[in-house]
Symmetry: C2
Subunit: 201 residues, 2 copies
């Protein structure tokens, strides 16, 4: 049977950025087919009574996360900076529109490249990923046709993203990135290798 894994990611999630950049080579080396599943953490955090990221609600944990991310990114050779010269980059950003476009792109073959470029724009360049002009440019560079933004904004696609969130909730996801192999859930970029190894069996 084919070795398979689902990769669940949220565009505002810092550690999802590390996985987005690391996943390709690691999965290829192990012969694991990965299905990319964008979702939104906002509704799931709201279930827990949180109105923002726990990294903002619990400052000691937030301070730690930024430093940990900086160290891990350096270790993996992934460009990262939290601060840009003229402004503080807001956190968490609104990844709704990026996620809708990603759904269209992942069906059509330009989605993975688009997702990587959105994360890089956010976490390496300090861009606002809710900016439709930016998203349109990144999609085009990834190979999207001109009607992609309209397709992303269609009601059917909005509902599809909502269904992803429901499925994530049903699978017990509570953070991102998460990896699902059969009935097994793995949470966090630091479980990426474990999840892939589980898929190999």
């Amino acid at each position: 049977m084919a070795k398979q894994m689902e990769f669940w990611f949220e565009f505002a999630s810092t550690y999802s950025y590390l996985s987005i950049m690391r996943l390709g080579d690691l999965a290829r080396d192990r012969g694991v087919a990965v299905t990319w599943r964008p979702f939104l953490l906002g509704p799931i955090f709201a279930d827990q009574g949180w109105s923002t990221s726990p990294f903002n609600l619990y400052p000691a944990k937030g301070d730690y996360m930024w430093r940990d991310l900086e160290r891990r990114a350096a270790r993996f050779g992934i460009p990262f900076r939290r601060w840009v010269p003229d402004h503080e980059v807001p956190f968490p950003q609104n990844g709704l529109k990026a996620a809708r476009l990603a759904l269209i792109g992942l069906d059509a073959g330009w989605g993975q490249s688009f997702c990587q470029s959105v994360y890089q724009a956010q976490f390496a360049k300090g861009a606002d990923i809710a900016d439709l002009d930016l998203l349109g440019r990144l999609a085009e560079q990834a190979g999207a046709p001109a009607d992609a933004p309209a397709l992303a904004n269609a009601e059917a696609n909005k509902l599809r993203l909502k269904a992803n969130v429901e499925e994530a909730r049903a699978k017990g996801l509570f953070g991102a990135p998460s990896f699902v192999v059969g009935d097994e859930l793995f949470w966090g970029d630091d479980r990426l290798e474990d999840a892939l190894d589980w898929a190999v069996g």
Copy 2:
């Protein structure tokens, strides 16, 4: 300069158990001297408005943690079971008395063996680690003199544990296990190797 790391642990902490069992060999291989620092998470969780472990407050995260722990323990060859035949083991347990005894033992040379046996009693055998008889037996088996429990219960030692909690708070610790190398904080058993590598430089 000597390679040094502080290892901060809480007896109720599930992932601290993994680190307690893994730390020795990994530190020895890298030539890192490790100072063991028992502390209590209860007062630090209370700062965040939590009256119990976040694994109880957030059930999806708690369910995940137990499965993750089971998988990680199996991978490392560390005995673990959450359930014992006749009762559910409470979580989190009260590690106050164990921590006081550990402080005495770590000064006197029998502390590391004592700490490991307390974690094993809890997470491999389902024992109640607030039980003074059990703690006394484990201390004795680790080589403690007969007056160790009295020393552990002395006012000066109680204050010392409180001072550890204050120091943990001042260092930005928010969970366990945590590892401190100079000004760098690492959190979680999955950062043990990172922390030791940082100490090696």
